[in-house]
Amino acid sequence: MKADPKGVLTGEHYLDGDHACAEGALAAGCRFFAGYPITPSTEVAERVSERFPDIGGIFIQMEDEMGSMAAVIGAAWGGAKSMTVTSGPGFSLMMENIGLAAMMETPCVVINVQRGGPSTGLPTLPGQADMMQARWGSHGDYEIIALCPNSPQECFEVVIEAFNLSEKYRVPVLVMADECVGHMTEKVVIPKADEIKLYPRRYTKLSPREYLPFKPGKDLIPEMVKAGDGYKFHITGLTHDEKGYPVMTWEAQEKLVRRLVEKIRLNADEIVHVEEIDTEDAEVVILSYGISSRVAIPAIQKARKEGIKAGQLRLVIAWPFPEKKVRELAKKIKAFVVVEMNYGQMFYEVERCVQGDCKTLLVPHGGGWVHDPEDIYKAIKEAIK
């Protein structure tokens, strides 16, 4: 399916990452946005509030982030592609209904322009410390998909990818940007609508008589319906059977929750998205994402100039984690150097996958400013010792 030209602002633009996120959503066919103002993500909402009505889309400013996430899920079952945007404190409040979206298998997108935390932290300054919250933030077992853009151009692209993945796998998809990427202004090239491929909603072709709302296909994903099409479905946050009705047994729990987890885990190879720079001959590989992946580039270049074979494995999709790729590299290289704006989140995921096959070093940072490339360079030197 190709993008609707109405939502695609084809051409070369000079945009910040937040605005590029809004354009990505428009291009992806998102026509419903509910949100609550929060720095540093508000510019997305501002642009959406102006741009959506222009093409018949809906923008609503809700009373809080719980309400925003609820409206986003409600709109999805009313037939809209929907999203919200927030930052740390709001992300915490959205966790409740992100869990519900996972349980109801509702396609939707949540953008988190990460700032320094915990709590109110650094509203106007960057952080990357919500990565584990993205993965585990809502209670109970479920799997999630999370993407990390590192430029305004990629904000545009990654938001489209997020919508496509959320439709394909029927999960809430998180875009884990950061304040630097959200507020930096760069050239953004928006292609023609017919060059943008969209994954259509998996609406069932079965009749209401035959249709079961949570009966999965071979890929473990059930087909969807929307209100008003004659299916009179029931959806609930309770553990439910294929009909969607609550069943309070361990057998129903095993069947449902295992599938919610496996529909992502077993399809992980297809979902994973990384970018590799000079990893073919690398001895040291920087693993990073978002703005930190760009800050690492001068350090890699400096090391290369000195004859150290350094490269980068960049997570465009952080969750599911590229386990196979990390394991494969770990067998060939001396060390992974993990550069992230926190005190170790994806780092422990790297350690888990490497299982001692190579060294692992963390270059931590509390947020509020980006890493000094010099610190990354020092870590590369340390790694090859």
Binding site: M66, A70, A71, G78, F233, H234, G237
Partner: protein
Amino acid sequence: MELIPKVTHHYLRTKKKFPNVWCAGCGIGIVMGAIIRAIDKLKLSRDEVVMVSGIGCSSRMPVYVDFNTLHTTHGRPLAFATGVKLAKPSLKVIVITGDGDALAIGGNHFIHACRRNIDLTCILVNNQTYGMTGGQFSPSTPFMKIGTTAPYGNRERAFDISKLAIASGAPFVARGTAYHVVQLEKLVEQATLKKGFSLVEVISHCPTLYGRLNKEGDAVEMLKWQRGHAIPISAAGKVPPEKLRDKFLTGVLWDIEFPEYCEEYDKVIAEAQRRD
């Protein structure tokens, strides 16, 4: 009277989800019957009705009725309904909630839904307690009444839910009871027809927990209490003030006109497109 169960049963997922979770004597079934009969009378197609609920005893209602039904998170049904209605304004969206759901955890969504004025019908079953979790005091438990978390008496003031809704900007507010079921049916009908946000507060009873803890008798006694304490708003002027003190008013308490949000948003769209 034979007609009543026939109409009701026609709308129930009888083969799928019964027996229900409610205790014998509970008022929620009465409310459900009134809602169904109102929908039947309005000749709404079952497919255009969306029933959204939160968490609690009353919020279990959607699973039993054959509409599009969303059983969501605690306190948030009005926010979900906001999304559904805006995404497809042709749907008739009815929200089922309770006193704990709508006023404690969902209090913020409640006042803002009143103020925002999206065409939603909110049926709030006020049984003055948290029934599903075992009889704890709620934001509508009267002062000094007993709850399982207020063993020495509730020291908080109760919300006057209808007044709260009026003060928050709801254009249509009505109050009924589980006892006055014929009136309730009419109130639900009027609320459903109202363009804009409408609230029907239903004074109900929980004989299993609240009734037992407060020695208010069985379901029949509690229903009689409703009969004895409800004053129709049309008669309120004729009742001396001292006799109104421990009573509550029923009927349509508030009915004004205010621009409905979905229609206003259509104007936003028209304005945005005009500026191009």
